[in-house]
Protein backbone atom coordinates (compact mmCIF):
# COMPACT_ATOMS: atom_id res chain seq x y z
CA UNK A 1 0.00 0.00 0.00
CA UNK A 2 1.55 3.28 -0.99
CA UNK A 3 1.65 6.05 1.65
CA UNK A 4 -0.48 9.22 1.57
CA UNK A 5 2.39 11.31 0.20
CA UNK A 6 2.65 9.17 -2.88
CA UNK A 7 -1.07 9.22 -3.49
CA UNK A 8 -1.23 12.99 -3.45
CA UNK A 9 1.80 14.22 -5.35
CA UNK A 10 0.81 17.91 -4.95
CA UNK A 11 1.64 17.80 -1.28
CA UNK A 12 5.22 16.88 -1.97
CA UNK A 13 5.88 20.32 -3.42
CA UNK A 14 5.03 22.03 -0.14
CA UNK A 15 8.52 22.30 1.35
CA UNK A 16 9.76 24.11 -1.77
CA UNK A 17 6.87 26.49 -1.69
CA UNK A 18 7.47 27.23 1.96
CA UNK A 19 11.09 28.01 1.21
CA UNK A 20 10.12 30.29 -1.66
CA UNK A 21 7.66 32.07 0.57
CA UNK A 22 10.19 32.62 3.29
CA UNK A 23 12.83 33.67 0.82
CA UNK A 24 10.76 36.71 -0.09
CA UNK A 25 10.06 37.47 3.55
CA UNK A 26 13.72 37.13 4.39
CA UNK A 27 14.59 39.61 1.66
CA UNK A 28 12.05 42.04 3.06
CA UNK A 29 13.51 41.65 6.54
CA UNK A 30 17.04 42.12 5.22
CA UNK A 31 16.08 45.28 3.37
CA UNK A 32 14.37 46.63 6.49
CA UNK A 33 17.47 46.02 8.58
CA UNK A 34 19.92 47.51 6.08
CA UNK A 35 17.79 50.49 5.05
CA UNK A 36 18.39 52.73 8.10
CA UNK A 37 22.06 53.05 7.10
CA UNK A 38 20.84 54.96 4.09
CA UNK A 39 18.41 57.08 6.09
CA UNK A 40 20.62 59.42 8.07
CA UNK A 41 18.01 61.96 9.07
CA UNK A 42 14.49 62.17 10.43
CA UNK A 43 12.99 63.24 7.13
CA UNK A 44 14.13 60.10 5.35
CA UNK A 45 13.11 57.92 8.28
CA UNK A 46 9.70 59.63 8.19
CA UNK A 47 9.28 58.67 4.54
CA UNK A 48 10.26 55.10 5.32
CA UNK A 49 7.81 54.89 8.22
CA UNK A 50 4.95 56.31 6.16
CA UNK A 51 5.82 53.85 3.41
CA UNK A 52 5.69 51.02 5.90
CA UNK A 53 2.31 52.07 7.24
CA UNK A 54 0.89 52.41 3.73
CA UNK A 55 2.40 49.04 2.88
CA UNK A 56 0.58 47.37 5.77
CA UNK A 57 -2.72 48.66 4.40
CA UNK A 58 -1.81 47.65 0.87
CA UNK A 59 -0.77 44.13 1.81
CA UNK A 60 -4.24 43.64 3.24
CA UNK A 61 -5.99 45.44 0.40
CA UNK A 62 -4.07 43.35 -2.10
CA UNK A 63 -5.66 40.22 -0.66
CA UNK A 64 -9.01 41.73 -1.53
CA UNK A 65 -8.19 43.24 -4.92
CA UNK A 66 -5.47 40.98 -6.21
CA UNK A 67 -6.54 37.61 -4.93
CA UNK A 68 -10.28 37.87 -4.35
CA UNK A 69 -10.76 40.22 -7.27
CA UNK A 70 -13.02 42.59 -5.36
CA UNK A 71 -12.59 46.34 -5.79
CA UNK A 72 -12.69 48.53 -2.70
CA UNK A 73 -12.69 52.31 -3.10
CA UNK A 74 -13.32 52.97 0.56
CA UNK A 75 -10.46 51.38 2.48
CA UNK A 76 -9.22 54.70 3.78
CA UNK A 77 -12.43 54.71 5.78
CA UNK A 78 -11.18 51.71 7.78
CA UNK A 79 -7.75 53.29 8.10
CA UNK A 80 -9.19 56.56 9.35
CA UNK A 81 -11.70 54.90 11.64
CA UNK A 82 -9.00 52.78 13.29
CA UNK A 83 -6.89 55.91 13.69
CA UNK A 84 -9.68 57.96 15.23
CA UNK A 85 -10.91 55.25 17.60
CA UNK A 86 -7.34 55.02 18.89
CA UNK A 87 -7.07 58.78 19.15
CA UNK A 88 -10.41 59.41 20.83
CA UNK A 89 -10.04 56.58 23.33
CA UNK A 90 -6.57 57.69 24.38
CA UNK A 91 -7.31 61.42 24.47
CA UNK A 92 -10.86 61.63 25.78
CA UNK A 93 -11.07 58.46 27.84
CA UNK A 94 -7.47 57.96 28.92
CA UNK A 95 -7.21 54.44 27.58
CA UNK A 96 -3.88 52.70 27.19
CA UNK A 97 -2.83 53.19 23.54
CA UNK A 98 -2.23 49.50 22.88
CA UNK A 99 -5.69 48.62 24.17
CA UNK A 100 -7.21 51.47 22.19
CA UNK A 101 -5.58 50.08 19.05
CA UNK A 102 -7.16 46.73 19.77
CA UNK A 103 -10.50 48.40 20.35
CA UNK A 104 -10.11 50.17 17.03
CA UNK A 105 -9.48 46.87 15.31
CA UNK A 106 -12.56 45.38 16.95
CA UNK A 107 -14.77 48.30 15.91
CA UNK A 108 -13.50 48.28 12.34
CA UNK A 109 -13.65 44.51 12.12
CA UNK A 110 -17.24 44.48 13.30
CA UNK A 111 -18.23 47.22 10.89
CA UNK A 112 -16.54 45.41 8.02
CA UNK A 113 -18.25 42.18 9.00
CA UNK A 114 -21.70 43.75 9.20
CA UNK A 115 -21.47 45.52 5.85
CA UNK A 116 -19.61 42.73 4.09
CA UNK A 117 -22.53 40.46 3.35
CA UNK A 118 -24.80 43.00 1.66
CA UNK A 119 -21.95 44.84 -0.07
CA UNK A 120 -20.11 41.80 -1.37
CA UNK A 121 -23.25 40.53 -3.08
CA UNK A 122 -22.55 43.29 -5.58
CA UNK A 123 -20.04 42.93 -8.33
CA UNK A 124 -17.65 45.06 -10.30
CA UNK A 125 -18.43 48.74 -10.40
CA UNK A 126 -21.46 48.38 -8.15
CA UNK A 127 -19.19 46.99 -5.47
CA UNK A 128 -16.76 49.83 -6.08
CA UNK A 129 -19.61 52.30 -5.58
CA UNK A 130 -20.77 50.65 -2.38
CA UNK A 131 -17.29 50.65 -0.84
CA UNK A 132 -16.81 54.23 -1.99
CA UNK A 133 -20.06 55.16 -0.28
CA UNK A 134 -19.03 53.46 2.93
CA UNK A 135 -15.68 55.24 2.99
CA UNK A 136 -17.27 58.62 2.31
CA UNK A 137 -19.88 58.14 5.02
CA UNK A 138 -17.14 57.41 7.56
CA UNK A 139 -15.22 60.45 6.35
CA UNK A 140 -18.27 62.73 6.68
CA UNK A 141 -18.96 61.55 10.22
CA UNK A 142 -15.33 62.22 11.18
CA UNK A 143 -15.55 65.74 9.75
CA UNK A 144 -18.80 66.74 11.37
CA UNK A 145 -18.56 65.18 14.81
CA UNK A 146 -16.27 68.04 15.81
CA UNK A 147 -16.68 67.66 19.56
CA UNK A 148 -15.32 64.14 19.40
CA UNK A 149 -12.85 64.33 16.54
CA UNK A 150 -11.80 67.97 16.45
CA UNK A 151 -13.26 68.27 12.97
CA UNK A 152 -11.26 69.23 9.87
CA UNK A 153 -8.65 71.11 11.90
CA UNK A 154 -7.69 67.81 13.41
CA UNK A 155 -6.80 66.55 16.85
CA UNK A 156 -3.58 65.84 18.71
CA UNK A 157 -2.75 62.26 19.65
CA UNK A 158 -0.48 61.21 22.52
CA UNK A 159 2.44 58.88 21.80
CA UNK A 160 2.15 55.12 21.81
CA UNK A 161 3.20 53.33 24.97
CA UNK A 162 4.53 49.82 24.65
CA UNK A 163 6.06 47.82 27.46
CA UNK A 164 6.02 50.87 29.67
CA UNK A 165 7.84 53.28 27.43
CA UNK A 166 6.75 55.96 25.00
CA UNK A 167 7.56 55.28 21.39
CA UNK A 168 8.45 58.74 20.17
CA UNK A 169 11.78 58.73 18.39
CA UNK A 170 11.83 58.28 14.67
CA UNK A 171 14.14 55.29 14.96
CA UNK A 172 11.93 53.48 17.43
CA UNK A 173 8.97 53.94 15.12
CA UNK A 174 10.92 52.67 12.15
CA UNK A 175 11.69 49.37 13.86
CA UNK A 176 8.14 49.00 15.13
CA UNK A 177 6.57 49.64 11.74
CA UNK A 178 9.09 47.38 9.98
CA UNK A 179 8.30 44.57 12.42
CA UNK A 180 4.55 45.00 11.97
CA UNK A 181 4.94 45.08 8.19
CA UNK A 182 6.94 41.86 8.14
CA UNK A 183 4.34 40.28 10.40
CA UNK A 184 1.57 41.50 8.10
CA UNK A 185 3.33 40.16 5.02
CA UNK A 186 3.87 36.82 6.72
CA UNK A 187 0.19 36.63 7.65
CA UNK A 188 -0.85 37.53 4.13
CA UNK A 189 1.43 34.94 2.57
CA UNK A 190 0.13 32.29 4.92
CA UNK A 191 -3.42 33.22 4.08
CA UNK A 192 -2.71 32.97 0.38
CA UNK A 193 -1.41 29.44 0.78
CA UNK A 194 -4.21 28.40 3.07
CA UNK A 195 -7.57 26.93 2.07
CA UNK A 196 -8.94 30.48 2.24
CA UNK A 197 -6.37 31.64 -0.26
CA UNK A 198 -7.03 28.81 -2.65
CA UNK A 199 -10.74 29.42 -2.40
CA UNK A 200 -10.13 33.08 -3.18
CA UNK A 201 -8.15 32.32 -6.26
CA UNK A 202 -10.83 29.96 -7.44
CA UNK A 203 -13.37 32.66 -6.78
CA UNK A 204 -11.35 35.22 -8.68
CA UNK A 205 -11.15 32.93 -11.67
CA UNK A 206 -14.84 32.29 -11.80
CA UNK A 207 -17.22 32.81 -8.94
CA UNK A 208 -19.84 30.48 -10.37
CA UNK A 209 -17.36 27.71 -10.96
CA UNK A 210 -16.12 28.08 -7.39
CA UNK A 211 -19.66 27.78 -6.14
CA UNK A 212 -20.24 24.63 -8.13
CA UNK A 213 -17.39 22.94 -6.26
CA UNK A 214 -19.04 23.82 -2.97
CA UNK A 215 -16.87 26.79 -2.05
CA UNK A 216 -18.88 29.11 0.16
CA UNK A 217 -17.86 32.22 -1.76
CA UNK A 218 -19.84 34.59 0.43
CA UNK A 219 -18.08 33.39 3.57
CA UNK A 220 -14.62 33.60 2.05
CA UNK A 221 -15.22 37.02 0.55
CA UNK A 222 -16.45 38.28 3.90
CA UNK A 223 -13.43 36.85 5.65
CA UNK A 224 -10.92 38.49 3.35
CA UNK A 225 -12.83 41.77 3.46
CA UNK A 226 -12.70 41.81 7.25
CA UNK A 227 -9.04 40.80 7.32
CA UNK A 228 -8.07 43.57 4.92
CA UNK A 229 -10.08 46.02 7.01
CA UNK A 230 -8.23 44.91 10.13
CA UNK A 231 -4.86 45.47 8.46
CA UNK A 232 -6.00 49.00 7.59
CA UNK A 233 -7.27 49.67 11.08
CA UNK A 234 -4.02 48.64 12.79
CA UNK A 235 -2.02 50.71 10.34
CA UNK A 236 -4.34 53.65 11.01
CA UNK A 237 -3.93 53.39 14.78
CA UNK A 238 -0.16 53.23 14.44
CA UNK A 239 -0.23 56.23 12.14
CA UNK A 240 -2.28 58.24 14.64
CA UNK A 241 0.26 57.73 17.39
CA UNK A 242 3.28 58.18 15.13
CA UNK A 243 2.10 61.39 13.56
CA UNK A 244 0.77 62.80 16.82
CA UNK A 245 -1.84 64.65 14.81
CA UNK A 246 -4.85 63.39 12.90
CA UNK A 247 -7.18 64.95 10.33
CA UNK A 248 -10.28 63.46 8.68
CA UNK A 249 -8.53 63.57 5.31
CA UNK A 250 -6.94 60.24 6.31
CA UNK A 251 -10.35 58.66 5.65
CA UNK A 252 -11.08 60.56 2.45
CA UNK A 253 -11.95 59.22 -0.99
CA UNK A 254 -8.62 60.59 -2.26
CA UNK A 255 -6.77 58.47 0.31
CA UNK A 256 -8.73 55.38 -0.74
CA UNK A 257 -7.77 55.98 -4.34
CA UNK A 258 -4.16 56.33 -3.21
CA UNK A 259 -4.23 52.91 -1.58
CA UNK A 260 -5.79 51.26 -4.63
CA UNK A 261 -3.22 52.95 -6.86
CA UNK A 262 -0.41 51.58 -4.69
CA UNK A 263 -1.75 48.04 -4.92
CA UNK A 264 -2.37 48.14 -8.66
CA UNK A 265 0.88 49.92 -9.47
CA UNK A 266 2.99 47.56 -7.44
CA UNK A 267 1.25 44.54 -8.77
CA UNK A 268 -1.96 42.85 -7.86
CA UNK A 269 -1.82 39.36 -6.47
CA UNK A 270 1.65 40.07 -5.21
CA UNK A 271 2.29 40.84 -1.56
CA UNK A 272 5.71 42.29 -2.30
CA UNK A 273 4.15 44.20 -5.16
CA UNK A 274 1.91 45.90 -2.62
CA UNK A 275 4.97 46.94 -0.62
CA UNK A 276 6.75 48.22 -3.73
CA UNK A 277 3.65 50.12 -4.82
CA UNK A 278 3.36 51.75 -1.41
CA UNK A 279 7.01 52.75 -1.53
CA UNK A 280 6.71 54.32 -4.96
CA UNK A 281 3.56 56.33 -4.30
CA UNK A 282 4.84 57.53 -0.91
CA UNK A 283 8.26 58.55 -2.20
CA UNK A 284 7.18 59.96 -5.56
CA UNK A 285 5.75 63.30 -4.32
CA UNK A 286 9.10 64.00 -2.65
CA UNK A 287 10.99 63.29 -5.86
CA UNK A 288 8.59 65.29 -7.99
CA UNK A 289 9.03 68.53 -6.04
CA UNK A 290 11.76 69.44 -8.52
CA UNK A 291 9.04 69.94 -11.08
CA UNK A 292 7.33 72.60 -8.96
CA UNK A 293 4.14 73.61 -10.73
CA UNK A 294 4.41 70.66 -13.08
CA UNK A 295 4.34 68.15 -10.25
CA UNK A 296 0.76 66.98 -10.88
CA UNK A 297 1.27 66.78 -14.61
CA UNK A 298 4.30 64.55 -14.20
CA UNK A 299 2.60 62.39 -11.57
CA UNK A 300 -0.39 61.81 -13.83
CA UNK A 301 1.90 60.91 -16.73
CA UNK A 302 3.91 58.48 -14.64
CA UNK A 303 0.75 56.72 -13.49
CA UNK A 304 -0.65 56.42 -16.98
CA UNK A 305 2.59 55.30 -18.60
CA UNK A 306 3.34 52.74 -15.90
CA UNK A 307 -0.10 51.20 -16.15
CA UNK A 308 -0.06 51.17 -19.92
CA UNK A 309 3.31 49.48 -20.20
CA UNK A 310 3.00 47.29 -17.12
CA UNK A 311 -0.71 46.54 -16.84
CA UNK A 312 -0.26 43.87 -14.21
CA UNK A 313 1.78 46.16 -12.05
CA UNK A 314 5.50 46.57 -11.51
CA UNK A 315 6.51 43.47 -9.61
CA UNK A 316 4.69 40.83 -11.71
CA UNK A 317 5.77 42.47 -14.96
CA UNK A 318 9.35 42.85 -13.81
CA UNK A 319 9.36 39.26 -12.59
CA UNK A 320 8.24 38.05 -16.01
CA UNK A 321 10.83 40.24 -17.71
CA UNK A 322 13.62 39.02 -15.43
CA UNK A 323 12.63 35.40 -15.87
CA UNK A 324 12.81 35.79 -19.61
CA UNK A 325 16.17 37.48 -19.43
CA UNK A 326 17.66 34.95 -17.08
CA UNK A 327 16.40 31.85 -18.83
Amino acid sequence: MRGPRARTPGLRRRPERTLARYRGLFTLALVSVILPWFLPNNFLLNIAILTGLNAIVCVGLNLLIGYAGQISLGHAGFFGLGAYVSAVLTVDFGWDPALAMLAGAVVVGLLAFVVARPILRLSGHYLAMATLGLGVIISIVLVHETKLTGGPDGMNVPPLRLFGRDISSERDWYWLVAAVLILAAWLALNLIDSPLGRALRGLHGSEVAAQTVAIDTARYKTRVFVISALFASIAGSLFAHYSGFLTPSEASFQRSIQFVTMVVLGGMASTYGAVVGAAIITVLPQLLTVFHDYEQVVLGLILMLTMVFMPKGLVPNLAVYLKRRLS
Binding site: I119, M129, Q296, K312
Partner: protein, 290 residues
Amino acid sequence: MAEFLQFVFSGITVGAIYALVGLGFSIIYNASQVINFAQGEFVMIGGLTTAMLAQGGVPVPIAAAIAIAAAVVAGLALEKLAVEQARDAPVVTLIIITIGASIFLRGLAQIVFDRNYHALAGFSGEAPIHLAGATIVPQTLWVLGTTAALVLALAWFFGRTLLGKAILATSYNPLAAQLAGIGTRSLLLLSFGLSAALGAIGGILIAPISLTSYDVGVLLGLKGFSAAVLGGLGSSMGAVAGGLLLGFIEALGAGYISSSYKDAIAFVIILLVLFFMPRGLLGRRGTERV
Protein backbone atom coordinates in the same frame (compact mmCIF):
# COMPACT_ATOMS: atom_id res chain seq x y z
CA MET B 1 -45.48 74.25 0.71
CA ALA B 2 -43.38 76.96 -0.87
CA GLU B 3 -40.48 75.63 1.13
CA PHE B 4 -40.96 72.11 -0.18
CA LEU B 5 -41.15 73.44 -3.72
CA GLN B 6 -37.92 75.35 -3.19
CA PHE B 7 -36.22 72.16 -2.02
CA VAL B 8 -37.53 70.43 -5.13
CA PHE B 9 -36.15 73.18 -7.34
CA SER B 10 -32.84 72.97 -5.52
CA GLY B 11 -32.84 69.24 -6.15
CA ILE B 12 -33.62 69.72 -9.82
CA THR B 13 -30.81 72.27 -10.22
CA VAL B 14 -28.19 70.03 -8.72
CA GLY B 15 -29.71 66.83 -10.10
CA ALA B 16 -29.65 68.10 -13.65
CA ILE B 17 -25.93 68.81 -13.26
CA TYR B 18 -25.26 65.32 -11.92
CA ALA B 19 -27.41 63.79 -14.66
CA LEU B 20 -25.39 65.46 -17.37
CA VAL B 21 -22.09 64.25 -15.92
CA GLY B 22 -23.48 60.78 -15.29
CA LEU B 23 -24.52 60.57 -18.92
CA GLY B 24 -20.90 60.95 -19.95
CA PHE B 25 -19.87 58.05 -17.67
CA SER B 26 -22.66 55.95 -19.08
CA ILE B 27 -21.64 56.34 -22.71
CA ILE B 28 -18.04 55.29 -22.19
CA TYR B 29 -19.14 52.43 -20.00
CA ASN B 30 -21.59 51.36 -22.67
CA ALA B 31 -18.84 51.09 -25.21
CA SER B 32 -16.03 49.67 -23.14
CA GLN B 33 -16.99 48.61 -19.61
CA VAL B 34 -14.48 51.21 -18.45
CA ILE B 35 -15.33 53.75 -15.78
CA ASN B 36 -13.64 56.92 -16.90
CA PHE B 37 -12.61 58.78 -13.75
CA ALA B 38 -11.41 61.62 -15.93
CA GLN B 39 -14.97 62.41 -16.98
CA GLY B 40 -15.14 65.22 -14.43
CA GLU B 41 -12.08 66.77 -16.05
CA PHE B 42 -13.87 66.92 -19.42
CA VAL B 43 -16.56 68.95 -17.67
CA MET B 44 -13.87 71.17 -16.22
CA ILE B 45 -12.16 71.70 -19.57
CA GLY B 46 -15.45 72.74 -21.15
CA GLY B 47 -16.41 75.22 -18.46
CA LEU B 48 -13.01 76.66 -17.61
CA THR B 49 -11.82 77.10 -21.19
CA THR B 50 -15.04 78.88 -22.11
CA ALA B 51 -14.90 81.12 -19.04
CA MET B 52 -11.25 82.06 -19.55
CA LEU B 53 -11.69 82.74 -23.27
CA ALA B 54 -14.86 84.75 -22.66
CA GLN B 55 -12.99 86.75 -20.03
CA GLY B 56 -10.35 87.44 -22.65
CA GLY B 57 -12.94 88.88 -24.99
CA VAL B 58 -13.82 85.92 -27.17
CA PRO B 59 -17.58 85.72 -27.89
CA VAL B 60 -19.13 82.98 -25.79
CA PRO B 61 -20.38 80.73 -28.65
CA ILE B 62 -16.91 80.63 -30.20
CA ALA B 63 -15.28 80.11 -26.82
CA ALA B 64 -17.70 77.26 -26.18
CA ALA B 65 -16.90 75.65 -29.52
CA ILE B 66 -13.17 75.85 -28.81
CA ALA B 67 -13.71 74.43 -25.34
CA ILE B 68 -15.71 71.49 -26.62
CA ALA B 69 -13.07 70.84 -29.25
CA ALA B 70 -10.36 70.91 -26.60
CA ALA B 71 -12.25 68.39 -24.47
CA VAL B 72 -12.83 66.13 -27.46
CA VAL B 73 -9.13 66.22 -28.29
CA ALA B 74 -8.36 65.27 -24.69
CA GLY B 75 -10.88 62.45 -24.83
CA LEU B 76 -9.58 61.06 -28.10
CA ALA B 77 -6.00 61.32 -26.87
CA LEU B 78 -6.89 59.52 -23.66
CA GLU B 79 -8.47 56.68 -25.60
CA LYS B 80 -5.86 56.39 -28.31
CA LEU B 81 -2.72 56.81 -26.22
CA ALA B 82 -3.71 55.18 -22.98
CA VAL B 83 -6.88 53.13 -22.89
CA GLU B 84 -6.37 51.42 -26.21
CA GLN B 85 -2.78 50.50 -25.38
CA ALA B 86 -4.00 48.78 -22.25
CA ARG B 87 -7.16 47.27 -23.65
CA ASP B 88 -6.47 43.78 -22.37
CA ALA B 89 -5.59 44.92 -18.89
CA PRO B 90 -7.73 44.17 -15.87
CA VAL B 91 -10.50 46.64 -15.08
CA VAL B 92 -8.70 48.06 -12.05
CA THR B 93 -5.69 48.94 -14.19
CA LEU B 94 -7.89 50.87 -16.58
CA ILE B 95 -9.42 52.70 -13.65
CA ILE B 96 -5.96 53.73 -12.47
CA ILE B 97 -5.12 54.91 -15.98
CA THR B 98 -8.16 57.18 -16.04
CA ILE B 99 -7.29 58.40 -12.56
CA GLY B 100 -3.79 59.20 -13.79
CA ALA B 101 -5.38 61.06 -16.70
CA SER B 102 -7.55 63.12 -14.36
CA ILE B 103 -4.51 64.08 -12.25
CA PHE B 104 -2.67 65.00 -15.43
CA LEU B 105 -5.50 67.14 -16.80
CA ARG B 106 -5.99 68.88 -13.47
CA GLY B 107 -2.28 69.63 -13.25
CA LEU B 108 -2.32 70.94 -16.81
CA ALA B 109 -5.27 73.19 -16.12
CA GLN B 110 -3.44 74.76 -13.17
CA ILE B 111 -0.57 75.68 -15.47
CA VAL B 112 -2.50 76.72 -18.57
CA PHE B 113 -5.07 78.69 -16.63
CA ASP B 114 -4.79 79.42 -12.92
CA ARG B 115 -6.04 78.25 -9.54
CA ASN B 116 -8.81 80.80 -9.16
CA TYR B 117 -12.50 80.33 -9.77
CA HIS B 118 -14.16 81.94 -12.77
CA ALA B 119 -17.69 82.90 -13.67
CA LEU B 120 -19.66 82.70 -16.87
CA ALA B 121 -22.72 84.78 -17.61
CA GLY B 122 -26.05 83.01 -17.64
CA PHE B 123 -27.35 82.32 -21.15
CA SER B 124 -30.56 84.18 -20.62
CA GLY B 125 -29.69 86.44 -17.74
CA GLU B 126 -29.60 85.94 -14.01
CA ALA B 127 -33.09 87.10 -13.00
CA PRO B 128 -34.73 84.31 -11.04
CA ILE B 129 -38.04 82.90 -12.20
CA HIS B 130 -40.79 82.84 -9.59
CA LEU B 131 -43.13 79.87 -9.45
CA ALA B 132 -45.67 79.31 -6.70
CA GLY B 133 -43.58 80.98 -4.04
CA ALA B 134 -40.29 79.37 -4.99
CA THR B 135 -37.57 80.52 -7.34
CA ILE B 136 -35.42 78.91 -9.95
CA VAL B 137 -32.68 80.42 -12.08
CA PRO B 138 -33.12 80.36 -15.88
CA GLN B 139 -29.81 78.55 -16.29
CA THR B 140 -31.25 75.51 -14.55
CA LEU B 141 -33.89 75.29 -17.26
CA TRP B 142 -31.13 75.44 -19.84
CA VAL B 143 -29.39 72.52 -18.14
CA LEU B 144 -32.61 70.51 -17.91
CA GLY B 145 -33.65 71.26 -21.44
CA THR B 146 -30.27 70.38 -22.88
CA THR B 147 -30.08 67.18 -20.87
CA ALA B 148 -33.51 66.15 -22.12
CA ALA B 149 -32.56 66.97 -25.70
CA LEU B 150 -29.30 65.05 -25.37
CA VAL B 151 -31.02 62.01 -23.90
CA LEU B 152 -33.48 61.97 -26.78
CA ALA B 153 -30.68 62.41 -29.28
CA LEU B 154 -28.70 59.59 -27.69
CA ALA B 155 -31.75 57.31 -27.60
CA TRP B 156 -32.25 57.92 -31.29
CA PHE B 157 -28.53 57.44 -31.93
CA PHE B 158 -28.19 54.18 -30.04
CA GLY B 159 -31.57 52.83 -31.08
CA ARG B 160 -31.96 53.90 -34.65
CA THR B 161 -28.61 54.49 -36.25
CA LEU B 162 -26.26 51.76 -37.39
CA LEU B 163 -23.33 53.42 -35.70
CA GLY B 164 -25.10 53.58 -32.37
CA LYS B 165 -26.24 50.01 -32.57
CA ALA B 166 -22.72 48.99 -33.46
CA ILE B 167 -21.43 50.65 -30.28
CA LEU B 168 -23.98 48.81 -28.21
CA ALA B 169 -23.15 45.55 -29.93
CA THR B 170 -19.48 46.09 -29.11
CA SER B 171 -20.28 46.56 -25.45
CA TYR B 172 -22.43 43.45 -25.22
CA ASN B 173 -19.92 41.19 -26.85
CA PRO B 174 -16.76 42.66 -28.38
CA LEU B 175 -15.65 39.45 -30.01
CA ALA B 176 -18.94 38.80 -31.71
CA ALA B 177 -19.07 42.40 -32.85
CA GLN B 178 -15.62 42.12 -34.40
CA LEU B 179 -16.60 38.91 -36.11
CA ALA B 180 -19.59 40.70 -37.53
CA GLY B 181 -17.19 43.17 -39.12
CA ILE B 182 -17.57 46.07 -36.68
CA GLY B 183 -14.44 48.19 -36.28
CA THR B 184 -14.46 48.09 -32.49
CA ARG B 185 -11.38 50.21 -32.06
CA SER B 186 -12.68 53.20 -33.93
CA LEU B 187 -16.01 52.88 -32.15
CA LEU B 188 -14.29 53.08 -28.82
CA LEU B 189 -12.54 56.23 -30.00
CA LEU B 190 -15.87 57.64 -31.03
CA SER B 191 -17.44 56.96 -27.64
CA PHE B 192 -14.65 58.71 -25.81
CA GLY B 193 -14.94 61.68 -28.09
CA LEU B 194 -18.71 61.75 -27.67
CA SER B 195 -18.44 61.49 -23.90
CA ALA B 196 -15.86 64.24 -23.77
CA ALA B 197 -18.08 66.50 -25.86
CA LEU B 198 -21.02 65.79 -23.58
CA GLY B 199 -18.92 66.50 -20.53
CA ALA B 200 -17.71 69.77 -21.99
CA ILE B 201 -21.23 70.86 -22.90
CA GLY B 202 -22.23 70.06 -19.35
CA GLY B 203 -19.37 72.13 -18.00
CA ILE B 204 -20.38 75.14 -20.08
CA LEU B 205 -24.01 74.88 -18.99
CA ILE B 206 -23.11 74.47 -15.34
CA ALA B 207 -20.56 77.28 -15.10
CA PRO B 208 -23.10 80.12 -14.77
CA ILE B 209 -24.72 78.35 -11.83
CA SER B 210 -21.77 77.16 -9.82
CA LEU B 211 -18.74 78.76 -11.45
CA THR B 212 -15.73 76.82 -12.58
CA SER B 213 -12.15 76.23 -11.56
CA TYR B 214 -9.38 73.75 -12.21
CA ASP B 215 -10.68 71.33 -9.58
CA VAL B 216 -14.44 71.20 -10.24
CA GLY B 217 -13.88 67.85 -11.89
CA VAL B 218 -12.99 66.04 -8.69
CA LEU B 219 -16.34 66.21 -6.99
CA LEU B 220 -18.38 66.24 -10.19
CA GLY B 221 -16.66 63.06 -11.30
CA LEU B 222 -17.56 61.41 -8.02
CA LYS B 223 -21.19 62.53 -8.20
CA GLY B 224 -21.48 61.64 -11.86
CA PHE B 225 -20.16 58.18 -11.16
CA SER B 226 -22.61 57.79 -8.27
CA ALA B 227 -25.45 58.93 -10.51
CA ALA B 228 -24.51 56.49 -13.26
CA VAL B 229 -24.21 53.56 -10.85
CA LEU B 230 -27.39 54.45 -8.99
CA GLY B 231 -29.30 54.61 -12.21
CA GLY B 232 -27.72 51.45 -13.49
CA LEU B 233 -24.57 51.34 -15.57
CA GLY B 234 -25.21 51.00 -19.24
CA SER B 235 -28.46 52.89 -19.27
CA SER B 236 -28.48 56.54 -20.35
CA MET B 237 -31.95 57.02 -18.94
CA GLY B 238 -30.64 55.42 -15.79
CA ALA B 239 -27.76 57.89 -15.49
CA VAL B 240 -30.17 60.79 -15.87
CA ALA B 241 -32.65 59.28 -13.43
CA GLY B 242 -29.82 58.54 -11.01
CA GLY B 243 -28.52 62.08 -11.24
CA LEU B 244 -31.90 63.67 -10.63
CA LEU B 245 -32.63 61.31 -7.79
CA LEU B 246 -29.27 62.05 -6.19
CA GLY B 247 -29.97 65.77 -6.44
CA PHE B 248 -33.37 65.36 -4.83
CA ILE B 249 -32.04 63.26 -1.98
CA GLU B 250 -29.36 65.83 -1.25
CA ALA B 251 -31.76 68.77 -1.31
CA LEU B 252 -34.52 67.11 0.66
CA GLY B 253 -32.00 65.61 3.06
CA ALA B 254 -30.50 69.04 3.65
CA GLY B 255 -33.90 70.61 3.96
CA TYR B 256 -35.63 68.16 6.24
CA ILE B 257 -32.99 66.14 8.05
CA SER B 258 -29.54 67.62 8.34
CA SER B 259 -27.57 69.78 5.97
CA SER B 260 -24.27 68.58 7.46
CA TYR B 261 -25.05 64.98 6.71
CA LYS B 262 -26.90 65.32 3.45
CA ASP B 263 -24.13 63.64 1.49
CA ALA B 264 -23.96 60.79 3.98
CA ILE B 265 -27.73 60.36 3.71
CA ALA B 266 -27.44 60.26 -0.06
CA PHE B 267 -24.80 57.54 0.09
CA VAL B 268 -26.81 55.52 2.59
CA ILE B 269 -29.73 55.59 0.21
CA ILE B 270 -27.50 54.60 -2.70
CA LEU B 271 -26.25 51.66 -0.64
CA LEU B 272 -29.83 50.65 0.18
CA VAL B 273 -30.88 50.87 -3.45
CA LEU B 274 -27.93 48.73 -4.48
CA PHE B 275 -28.80 46.24 -1.78
CA PHE B 276 -32.27 45.70 -3.19
CA MET B 277 -31.40 46.29 -6.82
CA PRO B 278 -27.81 45.09 -7.29
CA ARG B 279 -27.69 46.50 -10.79
CA GLY B 280 -29.05 49.93 -10.01
CA LEU B 281 -32.44 51.33 -10.88
CA LEU B 282 -32.48 50.73 -14.60
CA GLY B 283 -29.33 48.69 -14.97
CA ARG B 284 -28.98 46.06 -17.57
CA ARG B 285 -30.37 42.92 -16.09
CA GLY B 286 -27.91 40.62 -17.77
CA THR B 287 -27.13 37.06 -17.08
CA GLU B 288 -23.56 36.16 -16.49
CA ARG B 289 -22.41 33.49 -18.88
CA VAL B 290 -19.96 31.03 -17.37
